[in-house]
């Protein structure tokens, strides 16, 4: 096992924690948003669609700056959160979760929408005629049929969160041991003369983590699709 410094270890740990929580936070929200964007029509639908997708096209620095303007210590939403819930996001690891979540959200929603569009509403109608409530139909028919897309969305979001740099460093800075994720650590090491070897090590580690996530998603997607077909195909 290679010897990792305290700084490297905490960066890896923080990246994994931040990405995990980013997925956990965006998963239910992603399901809800993909549902209302696909199955409902309401006033402001295209506006919501634009808001969800804007981090995809905006420079990440701009997204981070907007987060700072909304959730910063001086911003009204940031102050509101601090005063009522005691939650501070700016320059904390929780802020890194928010930044990663915002950046990975469009990828998750995109993948969920595609899989939801592939679910035949006729099957949901059939479940209704069997007497199931609408939310039961969603849980027992829609979600299982969307499962491969949900898994793909989660993995994409996780990978995006692992790699998130611009918005994170703008919103929560690059404090070793507190807000320094793997990409920020690589960036910091590259600024430091003679630390190329250390940076290369982190690059390798992030490569292994990303490939690992990809392999897990492939495996899960294959499992869910074979369990759906059964032995008689």
């Amino acid at each position: 096992m290679i010897d990792l410094s305290q700084q490297e270890l905490s960066a890896i740990q923080l990246s994994l924690t931040v990405s995990f929580w980013a997925v956990i936070v965006t998963l239910p929200l992603g399901l809800w948003v993909s549902f209302i964007l696909t199955r409902k029509t309401f006033f402001g639908q295209s506006f919501l669609n634009a808001i969800v997708h804007v981090p995809l096209v905006l420079p990440p620095v701009v997204t981070g700056y907007i987060l700072l303007l909304t959730f910063g210590k001086q911003a009204w939403l940031g102050q509101f959160l601090e005063n009522t819930f005691g939650v501070v996001l700016a320059f904390r690891w929780t802020g890194a979760v928010l930044a990663a979540a915002v950046m990975s959200f469009p990828l998750m929603v995109r993948s969920m929408r595609l899989s939801l569009e592939a679910v035949d509403p006729a099957l949901e109608q059939a479940a209704l005629t069997l007497g199931a409530r609408r939310w039961v139909v969603y849980v027992t028919i829609t979600l299982p049929l969307m499962l491969p897309g949900i898994i793909a969305g989660c993995v994409l979001a996780f990978a995006k969160a692992m790699g998130e740099f611009g918005a994170t460093i703008t919103f929560v800075s690059n404090i070793p041991g507190q807000t320094q994720t793997v990409p920020s650590a690589i960036y910091a090491l590259l600024q430091q003369p003679g630390a190329e070897a250390q940076a290369a090590r982190l690059v390798w580690i992030s490569l292994v983590l990303s490939l690992g996530a990809l392999a897990v998603s492939e495996w899960m997607a294959r499992r869910s699709s074979t369990s759906r077909k059964g032995p008689h195909d």
């Binding site: 035949d120 006729a122 099957l123 109608q125 059939a126 479940a127 209704l128 005629t129 069997l130 007497g131 199931a132 409530r133 609408r134 039961v136 139909v137 027992t140 028919i141 299982p144 049929l145 759906r228 077909k229 059964g230 032995p231 008689h232 195909d233």
Partner: protein, 358 residues
Amino acid sequence: MIDLQLQHDLGAFTLDASFRAPNGVTALFGRSGSGKSTIIQIIAGLMVPRSGYVRIGDRVVFDQTQNINIPPQDRGIGYVFQDARLFPHLCVAGNLTYAQKYGRRGQADLGPIVDMLDIGHLLKRRPTGLSGGEIQRVAIARALLSSPSLLLMDEPLAALDAARKAEILPYLERLRDTVGIPIIYVSHDPSEVARLANTVVVLDQGRVQNVGPTEDIFSDTNTAPLLGVRAAGSILTAQVVAHCDDGLSHLKTSGADLFVPRVSRNIGQDIRMRILAQDVILSLHKPEGISALNVLKCTVIELRQGSGPGVMVKLQNGTDILLARITQRSAEAMRLTCGSTCYAVIKTVSVGAAEIGT
């Protein structure tokens, strides 16, 4: 008892239908585009009409003037879709028990329904591995297992070939005779309707053209053009008297003896069969020395001139009604009028197995 009155617009198509149907099997019959599927979607609550009402027994499930619109999951109506719509992520057993687990929990029992439709050996299979006929039988069982108070069937046989149809029809007859719930059966196939329905609602371009007992509708000369003159034919009820050694079955109707190709029913059982109007020959004298085995002495009760060269002749034999489609030229040459007596000749081999049911 189903009582409904509906107005609905779908693009250029206008539905304006009302009918009452007693319990038993009611067929909504008409060409494609006549509005039959729209009507049962409205009954199920999957579509909301512009105005009207739907009553099932004494329950109002939809009434536009009273603002009643019970959602589909609360209507207690089973639905067998044309495309079956089995849940692909569940095995057959999972599909069958869906209603009991997540929907209506009723008294419907898995065992007898599985036996009736003969799907016990499929329970562990996935829907993707089933044949078309098996898929429809599972879909019917799934709908029955939700303990519905009304069963809707939207052309459940339309996607199947003739052999699969012949395989499923006996199950549907069994269903009709054993399950005590009213069934609304949508079809554009006269022989299916003739075999299964007690009541027929004839639809044309979104309007109800005729409602009545199946025998009356099929022997109605006004309805014949809607069925298509080639498909027109009356329904005879007969009892199996004997199975002969030469491959024929001897039947008795109210006024005559008939011989048809061997039927798979027991002696003493009642069967009903459709005799196509174009398969009936009329003769003024009792024909002799001909190959046809069935010669029925009849009285002409109606003549109806079509738009073409044909005439539809309605005949009575005993209490049964027979339709014969002949040319206008023959009708004039024979001087057929209401009340005249003639002989209807039916070739034994013209009665196909698909036209015989219970």
